[in-house]
């Protein structure tokens, strides 16, 4: 009896493997799908080729005035000529190094935090959240160490956008934590106050909040106290943002099993010790993606400050579009701003998704 010899595997039918097979499975599964595919492919090819031609091949990059633009494609000369204003606002030219230093510290902190193996991450994040804002405030505002004072109304452009977004997120985090704890408190009064606060700010549009902060806040303060416009806008942003942050924190707190609280209580820990030593450290880890997502939302919302007359990135580009020397380049201007915002937001959302995936696996 001969030994059993299995027949060699037949190769799969040629139309199910390779490029052809992939296309059959993913692009041309049926008549309707095939039509859709062809239409979409046509649309994409047409759109992309037009866009590349307009934005790259026919575009003008070199020059200093509008006469350097041929008018066939995009006129990036406009963006390049104004770039420094778009980034630094009306900051005095000889002081711009201060903003660069701030950007550098910020980038260093972020990179250190993103790399997994950095030692002493806790201290670095503490510095990013507490030390960095204070340092950057003095860097930007000046007034000490012989730095010339630069008033806030000269701040603008991308710098201002980042300042508002970062201050908004850093300051709203602790307030949000307190509100979230308040909302889950056993004390009915505390709970109601927190709920009313959270629902109120979540129920009104940011623009009315900014408007209120901008024109009404001074009426509410006792005679004598007066804050500058940027400060008031920030107060508005923080009040608004802390309500959203509270909901993120609440979500994180809810994910922690009740056993943790009970165990901590059994050990005789007080409420605050339970929260800050046991619950929050675990919850904060879960909250990071949520925090990043609110940060993205806040980052986009900072563009609203243009309505109360602050010159953020969008506002400064919008005003440059009105320069008689550069009229008619609104598409280029808007694409530039869109691109800047998109890079930041997309990067952050990718980061938050990756983080979510990582945290997810570690919890199973």
């Amino acid at each position: 009896m001969s030994e059993f010899k299995p027949l060699p595997d037949q190769p799969p039918p040629p139309n199910t493997i390779g490029a052809v097979g992939w296309m059959r499975a993913h692009l041309f599964t049926g008549p309707i799908n095939s039509v859709l595919t062809v239409a979409a492919a046509f649309l994409i090819l047409f759109g992309i080729s037009w866009f590349i031609n307009w934005g790259l091949f026919d575009a003008d990059f070199v020059g200093s005035t509008r006469d350097d633009c041929s008018g066939e494609g995009a006129c990036w000369v406009f963006i390049i000529a104004r770039l420094s204003q778009f980034i630094y606002g009306f900051f005095p030219e000889e002081q711009i190094w201060r903003i660069n230093v701030m950007f550098f510290i910020f980038a260093a902190c972020i990179i250190a935090l993103m790399i997994e193996k950095t030692p002493k991450k806790g201290w670095i994040s503490l510095f990013t959240l507490v030390g960095f804002p204070i340092i950057s405030f003095y860097l930007l505002n000046g007034g000490i160490f012989g730095l010339e004072e630069v008033e806030t109304h000269k701040w603008g452009g991308l710098t201002l956008t980042l300042v508002i977004a970062i201050v908004g997120i850093v300051a709203s985090l602790p307030i949000g934590i307190l509100l979230a704890l308040g909302r889950r408190s056993d004390m009915p009064v505390i709970r109601s106050i927190s709920i009313v606060y959270i629902e109120f700010w979540r129920g009104v549009p940011l623009i009315t909040v900014l408007f209120m902060a901008s024109v009404m806040l001074p009426l509410f303060m006792s005679a004598g106290a007066e804050t500058d416009k940027l400060m008031r806008a920030m107060i508005g942003v923080i009040m608004f943002q802390s309500a959203y942050m509270a909901e993120v924190v609440r979500g994180g707190l809810q994910a922690i099993p009740k056993g943790q609280t009970e165990a901590a209580q059994a050990l005789g820990l007080s409420y605050w010790k339970t929260m800050f030593l046991i619950i929050l450290p675990q919850a904060l880890k879960l909250m990071i993606p949520g925090i990043v997502n609110t940060f993205i939302a806040l980052f986009k919302d900072t563009s609203l400050v243009l309505i109360i007359g602050l010159f953020d990135l969008l506002a400064i580009v919008q005003s440059a579009l009105n320069d008689p020397n550069w009229l008619g380049f609104s598409v280029e201007g808007y694409i530039f701003v869109a691109f800047m915002f998109w890079i930041f937001c997309f990067g952050m959302s990718r980061y938050s998704q990756a983080l979510e995936r990582k945290l997810n696996t570690s919890h199973r």
Binding site: L36, M187, I190, G203, V204, P218, F220, S222, A338, F346
Partner: protein
């Protein structure tokens, strides 16, 4: 002191260590702080306003406004009051939010489903759409549609023209307006009758399906009745309606219906932006339905459409509704960005022009905030009710 108490044999905690007492004290303090805070603020506001001679109160609502508004859903001209500008602004906000919600939902569902399509190209296209539009600030998108796209539109004299009845130019979209004549009421009755018949049919069909298991196609007959019945009545009663066509008179088109470019730009931006978020909501909702459900549906021989409509979407809706509500609320609140391009919504008309003409910032801002707050709270209350109704009833 606690030790002393213990020595006396009463194992009682001192009263400030008693959690119950502490909590009461803490709450009283909190109430006190909040009350004090508000008293302080109100007192400041009143003294400041008096010191500066600012008028207070709501009497201004009865004063004549004296300015015009480009789009009004209720009769309005310069002789109406400031109170009326509030109504006009409010209705314009409601209009743009309502249209925006419908359009964004439709677009969002299409893109959300497209993202899960088996067609690789379509799925990627949907992903690109979502990633682009939800990562760009809405205000920028509004500016883009208004200031960048508007410039490219033709002037009224060179309008795009569709059959001499629909015109599209930089001033807006002009369409014929149906004007009802005497006797049009019959047609309304016919429409209601048609709706009643359809409801009856649906009920009957459900009952029959439960008893006999036979299905009966409902969609096309219903559509037929809804369109056919009023049309028949309309023609029998002698067509009691005519169309008023827009015509170029002087500078602009007169008569007919107009959609102003501000509304178009705002609606377009709100729809495109919110649809990207709704698409993600829809996708996660559909993905939350176990794969077995799709397989079971396929095994039963349902078509793709039937599977989505009868099996997947109804189950996905439970997951979709809460975040969808959030998106609707966001859209409503975001509609306040209208003020940036001059669409006459509540913030633009009332918290803008009216505030400036009267100078009564406190009253006006609070009224405006109150409106949004009411809209938000009502919507979420309604949605909570709906959510409870469709929630999965488990053993």
């Amino acid at each position: 002191m606690a030790n002393q108490l213990n020595e006396q044999g009463k194992a009682k905690t001192s009263f400030w260590n008693d959690p119950a007492v502490r909590s009461v004290i803490f709450q009283i303090l909190a109430v006190g702080a909040v009350v004090a805070f508000f008293l302080y603020i109100i007192n400041n506001a009143l003294t400041n306003m008096e010191a500066r001679g600012i008028t207070t109160g709501f009497a201004f609502l009865n004063d004549t406004a004296g300015f015009g508004i480009i789009q009004t859903l209720v009769p309005f001209d310069e002789t109406y009051t400031y109170g009326r500008t509030f109504i006009v602004g409010l209705l314009n906000t409601v209009l743009v939010s309502f249209l925006g919600i419908i359009l964004a939902t439709v677009l969002g569902f299409i893109i959300g489903i497209a993202r899960l399509s088996k067609n690789w190209l379509i799925a990627k296209l949907a992903t690109v759409y979502i990633e682009i539009f939800r990562n760009i600030p809405l205000l920028l998108q509004i500016f883009f549609w208004y200031f960048a796209v508007l410039r490219a539109l033709p002037s009224p004299r060179e309008s795009m023209n569709l059959g001499d009845s629909i015109f599209f130019n930089v001033r807006g979209l002009y369409m014929p307006e149906p004007i009802a004549e005497d006797g049009f009421g019959v047609v309304w009755i016919a429409i209601f009758a048609a709706i009643a018949i359809i409801i009856g049919m649906v009920k009957y069909e459900k009952k029959r399906q439960l008893t006999t298991g036979k299905t009966f196609p409902l969609f096309f007959p219903s559509l037929g009745i809804l369109l056919g019945l009023p049309l028949i009545v309309f023609f029998i009663s002698g067509s009691p309606m005519h169309l008023e066509y827009p015509e170029l008179k002087g500078f602009n088109f007169q008569n007919g219906m107009t959609i102003i470019p501000e509304l178009m730009a705002l609606l377009l931006a709100l729809t495109i932006y919110t649809a990207a978020f709704i698409a993600e909501v829809v996708r996660s909702g559909i993905e939350a339905v176990p794969h077995g459900q799709s397989e079971a549906a396929n095994a039963l021989g349902l078509t793709n459409g039937q599977r989505l409509r009868l099996i997947i979407i109804p189950q996905a809706m439970r997951v979709i509704i809460p975040p969808l509500t959030n998106q609707y609320l966001n859209l409503t609140k975001n509609s306040s960005l209208a003020t940036a391009i001059g669409y006459p919504d509540l913030v633009s008309v009332f918290a803008g022009t009216t505030l400036n003409q009267t100078g009564q910032a406190v009253e006006i801002i609070f009224m405006t905030m109150g409106v949004y707050l009411t809209l938000s709270l009502t919507t979420s209350a309604l949605m909570n009710w709906y959510n409870k109704r469709i929630a999965l009833i488990e053993r």
